[in-house]
């Protein structure tokens, strides 16, 4: 079963590492970037299928990362996850092509469901279908046993 590759971008290290571990336990393949520049390098190195992106970060902010990634890698679906989001930010993010705009803190199951929806949307955009199992993983890590992937 192929795992969805998710790049998590946030300068709150404790938050993003805990989130990555929880998503890994739910059979997603995660990588973490702690700022915008690091995120762009990660996308160039190993393009994720879905990116979960904070907006307010030192240096390159989330909206600029979103703009650049959607231009250079339009197949990457971007979910904005922010504690600072205003209506204006949401409008701008959606105009730039964000798949979804979520506020922190988010329920992990809602986030995982959104990641899988974004992955399916990406597959549809490319005229294919999401790999079997990649879009329909269960939510309870305890029922799934130890995950194979690590963050």
């Amino acid at each position: 079963m192929s795992q969805i590759k998710v790049l998590l971008v946030d300068d709150e290290e404790e938050f993003i590492k805990a989130l990555a571990e929880r998503m890994t336990l739910r059979d997603l393949k995660t990588e973490v970037a702690l700022d915008g520049q690091e995120a762009l390098k990660a996308v160039a190195r190993e393009t994720p299928e879905v990116m979960v992106l904070d907006l307010r970060m030192p240096g390159l902010d989330g909206l600029e990362v979103l703009r650049r990634v959607r231009r250079s890698h339009p197949q990457v679906q971007v979910i904005v996850l922010t504690g600072h989001g205003s209506d204006r930010d949401e409008e701008q993010a959606r105009r730039l092509g964000a798949f979804e705009f979520l506020q922190k803190p988010v329920d992990i199951e809602d986030l995982v469901r959104t990641v899988r929806q974004a992955h399916r949307a990406a597959a549809r955009d490319q005229g294919g279908t999401a790999p079997a199992g990649a879009g329909d993983g269960g939510a309870d890590p305890g029922a799934r046993g130890q995950s194979k992937a690590t963050a």
Binding site: E14, F15, L25, P105, P141, G142, A143, Q146
Partner: protein, 209 residues
């Protein structure tokens, strides 16, 4: 911008920024507690001492995070009130927000504070901060008049010449009201450009928007 408006805008900007940061703090707590919960789940049903107590403590943490998020969301919206001097406001939402933020004060006086939303929802073009101040002032005026066990309700509705909000008290009287509360409320209502009428036959008022 007048001095008071500048002060309100400053307080709003700082408060809004802090609420965003607190959301980050709550997100870290939620994910860290959630990770522990996931790991307990992976450990299986047996062999983990105090499993039930751990799970209960984690559930408490999640519940308090949710409470904190709701507080921060309402406080954030209040902090953004000075951003606009006039806006189209949903009166049900405005009443619900101030009622949520005043719950602590009502609890301290052993009163129940509730909203009776209008159907359909009504909106009015008003100064957001001034409306919140008038609604808070009306609740404060009534809180001074009711004995413990009383109920205060905020109810937007459609009046003859426009939307109104009725703030009603039910229960035993507490004694004499704070003499400064009504004049303060009148001044706040005048600033908002709203009419204010004391109701007969029980503690309550009608705000004419």
């Amino acid at each position: 911008m007048a001095g008071e408006q500048r002060e309100a805008a400053f307080m709003g900007r700082i408060t809004a920024g802090v609420t965003h940061e607190v959301r980050n703090v709550l997100a870290i707590i939620r994910e860290s507690a959630g990770l522990v919960q996931d790991l307990i789940g992976l450990a299986g049903g047996e062999g983990l001492p105090h499993r039930d107590k751990l799970t209960k403590a984690l559930t408490t943490i999640q519940g308090q995070v949710n409470r904190g998020v709701e507080l921060m969301n309402n406080l954030n919206q209040l902090a953004h009130c000075p951003d606009q001097s006039r806006a189209s406001l949903d009166l049900n939402q405005e009443a619900a927000r101030i009622a949520f933020l005043l719950q602590r004060f009502a609890r301290q006086k052993e009163l129940v504070l509730e909203v009776r939303p209008s159907q359909p929802p009504l909106s009015a073009s008003l100064n957001p901060l001034q409306l919140q101040m008038v609604l808070a002032g009306a609740v404060d005026w009534l809180m001074g008049q009711l004995a413990p066990g009383g109920v205060i309700s905020l109810g937007p509705s459609q009046g003859g010449s426009g939307p109104v909000v009725e703030v009603l008290g039910q229960g035993q009287a507490a004694g004499s009201e704070n003499p400064a509360a009504w004049p303060d409320l009148e001044r706040a209502a005048a600033q908002l450009g709203a009419g204010l009428k004391r109701l007969e036959g029980g503690p309550g008022l009608r705000l004419l928007l």
